[in-house]
Subunit: 153 residues, 2 copies
């Protein structure tokens, strides 16, 4: 994930957030966070379950994911295949965007320099305001062909 704040601290931040929500930070839940920490982009339930560190039944995994989503620890995305993928919320990783490979479906996190991101945000705000929206955030996805797919073609 995009420059996650030092690893061990994440667990502590998550624990605090869960405690605030009156939810326990159990070992099962810890293992899901650990699995997500090795990712460099959004991951599906199946992908997380495959992570050796994370060996809990799929139903518990899903329950954990939704608890985390509720507590804004994870954010859910839906890729082109319709499968839900999760990654740490931006207050844990910093604001970032995604590179999407239209060939293999790979999704990678990418950070955008503050000044440029600010520019995008202003554009988004302007666009939204014109339609009567109160703009909160913007999502910029860069679609293209990744290095691997490019070399294979």
């Amino acid at each position: 994930m995009a420059a996650v704040k030092e690893n061990p601290e994440i667990h502590e931040m998550v624990r605090r957030r869960l405690t605030d929500n009156e939810v326990r930070y159990t070992s099962g839940r810890r293992s899901v966070v650990t699995a997500i920490l090795v990712a460099t982009g959004p991951r599906s339930a199946a992908e997380l379950a495959a992570e050796p560190t994370c060996n809990l039944p799929i139903s518990s995994l899903y329950r954990t994911l939704s608890v985390f989503e509720e507590a804004s620890i994870l954010r859910k995305h839906h890729g082109s295949d319709g499968v839900a993928r999760y990654e740490l919320d931006e207050w844990l990783t910093g604001h970032h965007h995604h590179l999407v490979c239209v060939s293999c479906g790979l999704i990678e996190d990418i950070e955008v320099p503050d000044d440029i991101d600010q520019e995008v945000h202003e554009i988004a705000t302007k666009i939204g305001a014109a339609a009567g929206f109160r703009v909160i955030d913007h999502v910029l996805e860069v679609e293209g062909v990744c290095v691997n797919c490019e070399s294979e073609s």
Copy 2:
């Protein structure tokens, strides 16, 4: 949808595209296009099926949608609920982006002035290139609260 080129012409353009793909433009398929023409943003299979003009069985609807997707007549998106939503491809509607209401899930098409869109595209290209991506397109989603939700809160 964003400024669709005159309605009747769309059917003609679709027919031509299908003919090029050696696929027939049947009445069932025509009715799906008609249903999509009344939309102002991406629509799910269920939503299209609910359209009175479009009364074909859900399985045929799905088959039609995938034929259209294959022929680049429709583009598939996945909203926050994971349900697939379709809208006319950009060569039929013009390039545009989406306003997403984080409160009710509404998705509306929005056109962005060429010069501004060009700016966004350059930013996307720069970002992607830095990661070794050959950038093809960019998707900008503006997240906020729509007029309705804003007035209700």
